[in-house]
Point group: C2
Chain length 150, copies 2
């Protein structure tokens, strides 16, 4: 483990978060997601794992290090429920809370349909699978920047 680093972030995840640059996307997905298959199409090429954690807990750890994009409106998105795009599942409420806490202000995420999400995940930098078992525990996070002197 390391000083001041959330121990839920394993070595592979640390590598990927640091290797990402401005605008790169991390897809954080649940246990039903076709994660290994889609991860194989990404720049990173392998599936990252944060096992036995809810989506909200994983996002809390990830966002303790990763800045979200402040240049665009699609800095984060949830997967829409089939047949009810406006429904926000409980797991998504928890994810939104993790985003708001990390950003220090309410920053509502957007949403994308299931198959659009698959496409966006395939063109992401990497796919990270959590231990989340609730449906629609799938999110896209777009990396922001760190200003000089911070």
């Amino acid at each position: 483990m390391l000083k001041g680093i959330d121990p839920r972030l394993n070595a592979d995840v640390l590598y990927a978060l640091r290797a990402m640059g401005h605008g790169d996307v991390l897809a954080v997905v649940d246990m039903n997601f076709p994660a290994a298959a889609i991860a194989s199409k990404t720049a990173y090429g392998e599936l990252l794992r944060m096992e036995n954690l809810t989506a909200g807990d994983a996002l809390e750890a990830i966002l303790s290090l990763m800045p979200l994009d402040t240049f665009v409106s699609d800095f984060a998105a949830r997967m829409e429920a089939s047949g009810d795009a406006s429904k926000v599942a409980g797991v998504q409420v928890e994810a939104q809370a993790a985003i708001d806490a990390a950003e220090g202000r309410p920053r509502p995420m957007g949403s994308v349909g299931r198959f659009d999400f698959y496409d966006k995940a395939a063109s992401a930098f990497a796919v990270l699978q959590t231990g989340e078992r609730r449906f629609y525990g799938c999110f896209l996070l777009r990396k922001g920047v760190i200003e000089p002197g911070v």
Copy 2:
């Protein structure tokens, strides 16, 4: 880059620091060291790089995350100058200052002879080469632990 992480720590270095456990050694070496050859014998197997940095600056960044071992006396060591084991080179004074600053107290490092250093680096977790050009800018750092709740 990442929130609160020294940007001098690249993705490979972050991976290795996180992957190391208690007692594992990181060899931080200068530009004349046979770094690639000896790195090939380590557990990590590839040479880590922090280019264009002095040894002191590299140690400052590394030790911002990596705890030093508090269970043993050989938590850190410098390479001894040939023919004058007691001589502490300027580059080694800077490294000691980085260690003391990270530990919050004076913690004098030990020393090992050149060929003993080669052996110890080969059995280290990884070898990391800095941009240090001054002779004897070579150090062994042994990883410590993070207590629960910290």
